[in-house]
Amino acid sequence: MEYFLELFFGGLTRGSIYALIAIGYTMVYGIIQLINFAHGEIYMIGAFTALIAASALSIEGFGGWSLLVLAGFIAIVYSAAYGFTLEKIAYKPLRKASRLSPLISAIGMSIFLQNYVLLAQTSDFLPFPPLIEEFSFLEQVTVMRSSELLILSVTAVSTALLTLFIKFTRMGKAMRAVAQDKTMAMLLGVNVDRVISVTFIIGSTLAAIGGVLISSHIGQINFYIGFIAGIKAFTAAVLGGIGSLPGAVLGGMVLGWTESFATGYVSSDYEDVFAFGLLVFILIFRPAGILGKSTAEKI
């Protein structure tokens, strides 16, 4: 039983990591139906910026929570700026093109950004300072550490907030409208460019938060972390029903648990095989993902 619990919480952590990145993925997908392969790179840049900022700030004498908050803030600002610029350069000119063109542009951007960081910084792994201090009340608990708790709660809170935001605010409604029919949204007074930019900024902000929390949890980063995390987050987003925020979280969790239990009870050799196998299995029975809506097409 203890073993089961340990695996359960391990899967939960892993799942919430996937979920946190997947939310940004799913938001961008939701609005422009683009698999933004460069999202993982934004996450990576967020982590790198946080690391750089934290190092600079700690030399200046900052420490503790203020360091986390400040470095996190800088990371968010920069990630948002990168996300914003990314959209303007690589996707906006392709809005009218076939759906695959921005996908290729995204792959190109992903390669570019990886190599940019590789060349400007280093190819090596860098230690990421433990910005999150251990909560004292978690001292006795073995199954969960404070960074895990933080990741979990940030995921939960941001999902809830964003879901409300999209459901009830004017911007949120505009986002959904733009996602379905850009021209019509324009005709109803929606500034489509701005809505898309805001979406990228929100998505990138989440990626940056993810970058800071997750890197601080794992303790190391390099220029390549975004790619793998991105693929998994994308899988999670699809599993849960792409475009749906709660779906992204659920998808992340399911993926995390699958991997954890597959490792625990079968073999970690085939952990990803199980993960992708489950994906195929679920999609066979729910072709639009766990929480996804099948498209309402009137014939």
């Binding site: 698999i35 392969f37 840049i45 790198f48 910026t49 690391l51 750089i52 900022a53 190092s55 600079a56 700690s58 030399i59 800088i74 700026a81 990168y82 610029t85 350069i89 000119p93 392709l94 009218k96 093109a97 076939s98 695959l100 063109s101 921005p102 996908l103 290729i104 542009s105 792959i107 190109g108 951007m109 390669i111 570019f112 990886q114 190599n115 940019y116 960081v117 060349l119 400007a120 910084q121 860098l126 230690p127 300072p129 693929i231 994308f234 899988t235 699809v238 792409i242 085939y270 990803d272 095989v273 992708f276 994906l279 195929v280 999609l283 066979i284 072709p287 639009a288 097409e297 014939i299």
Partner: protein, 433 residues
């Protein structure tokens, strides 16, 4: 003017000011990563301010250039052209209602001038035939690689370009072809020529196996499942040592058999070059015939509208499965060639990035256009090779090129050519209109 986003910037000053703004923005953007270099352990920071100036200057120039190119692309505001009377309706092939791009006009021109066509083809034939004797083994070798990707691109084009099924796991079939030959050769000494068709058949069967479960999926759901499938195949190859010899791969695979003649490295390369050229020619013929056949039309119809497609009596399941199977076949062939070419394979060659590159070839070249895909493969495979001059900056430039090509030619290098069927239907006799 508020929201003057369409207002063309006419004065030079405006352009320069904007580019200046862009430069400042990029200086801000690249500040932490370009300028600050940290060594976390030594707790010191190196400030590389010089780089900021480079970034600023570079961004300024590029932004000016970007604007210039975009303006050129959009063309001048046609005042004269707007005259309704000037629209030429004479159907000369060159001037079809003025609605054809240069590329289309060239295509029509090419179609209409038989002499020119024959001349081009013979010229091309000689260039291709003489290539390995003029250039070095290295050049021949990378051209072989590029041609292999032409085949992969054309194969994937069946699935993605024609049938509209986004497949991100194409590499799985490539791997199965390669491993089939490698294993058969390793264990049973099976020769290349025997293995080639079998590898294709095996890949086709794998295509069917993948096809069945994913039939109901659409668009990006299909993409992720195929991506997963690709990864599963790679992971199995990595983990199942007893079967695949694991991550250390299979070495010393035989090169294509030569009927007992002794070949050195150069001869082998040349020989393989001709094999690949013939196979590419074969692929082009098959793919273009398929595309213009009943099956090909069904694929395209399926891509355009599934519901209407079924209402036309097309069996969705069967059509999708044939697309998967036929697309996979080429990957199987090329996999087999890959194993024979490198004489060594391991699972590391079959990552998701490989699928992404093949997909990029299809899209970048121009979906559905055979010539486009050939160009796409040549660009994407030869580019990194020729970018070797940039050494470390190679992949950086490569990524940037992909973005730039897409942005400036969203429909692909040779895109926008929807299938041109010049049908010359005889006046039906007897039947009343």
């Amino acid at each position: 003017m508020p929201y003057g986003r369409r207002a063309p910037i006419t004065q030079k000053g405006g352009k320069i000011l904007r580019s200046f703004g862009v430069a400042l923005w990029f200086m801000f953007l690249t500040f932490p990563i370009m300028v600050i270099k940290i060594s976390p352990l030594e707790k010191n920071i190196e400030w590389r301010w010089g780089r900021m100036i480079y970034v600023g200057a570079g961004a300024f120039v590029l932004s000016l250039l970007w604007r210039y190119v975009i303006e050129q692309k959009r063309g001048p505001i046609p005042k004269e052209e707007a005259d309704p009377l000037k629209v030429d309706t004479k159907d000369t092939g060159w001037n079809r209602g003025g609605s054809h791009s240069l590329q289309e006009r060239l295509a029509i021109f090419f179609h209409k001038n038989k002499k020119f066509r024959i001349l081009t083809f013979t010229g091309l034939f000689f260039i291709i035939a003489a290539f390995p004797f003029v250039f070095s083994t290295y050049q021949t070798s990378i051209i072989i690689t590029a041609l292999m990707y032409v085949m992969l691109g054309l194969g994937l084009n069946i699935v993605v370009g024609l049938a509209g099924l986004l497949d991100l796991g194409y590499v799985a079939f490539y791997a199965s072809g390669a491993y089939f030959y490698a294993l058969m050769n390793h264990h049973f000494g099976l020769g290349f020529w025997a293995a080639l068709p079998m590898a294709g058949a095996l890949a086709a069967i794998m295509g069917l196996l993948l096809g069945f479960p994913v039939l109901r999926l659409r668009g990006d759901y299909l993409a992720i499942v195929t991506l997963g499938f690709g990864e599963i195949i790679r992971l199995v190859l990595e983990n199942w040592n007893e079967f695949s010899l694991g991550p250390s791969g299979i070495a010393r695979i035989d090169r294509p058999g030569t009927l007992g003649i002794d070949f050195d490295l150069r001869d082998h390369t040349v020989y393989l070059y001709y094999i690949v050229v013939v196979l590419v020619a074969f692929t082009i013929i098959v793919v273009s015939r398929l595309r213009n056949s009943r099956i090909g039309r069904a694929w395209i119809a399926l891509r355009e509208d599934e519901v209407a497609c079924q209402a036309m009596g097309i069996d969705k399941t069967k059509t999708k499965l044939t697309a998967f199977a036929l697309g996979a076949t080429w990957a199987g062939f090329v996999g087999c060639i890959l194993a024979a070419k490198t004489t060594f394979i391991n699972p590391a060659s079959f990552t998701f990035m490989e699928s992404a590159i093949i997909l990029s070839i299809v899209v970048l070249g121009g979906m559905g256009s055979i010539f486009g895909i050939i160009l796409g493969a040549l660009v994407l495979i030869l580019l990194p090779e020729y970018l070797r001059a940039f050494s470390e900056y190679r992949m950086l430039v490569f990524g940037a090129s992909m973005v730039i090509i897409m942005v400036f030619r969203p429909q692909g290098i040779i895109g926008g050519t929807r299938k041109r069927h010049e049908f010359h239907v005889k006046e039906p006799t007897g039947e009343k209109p």
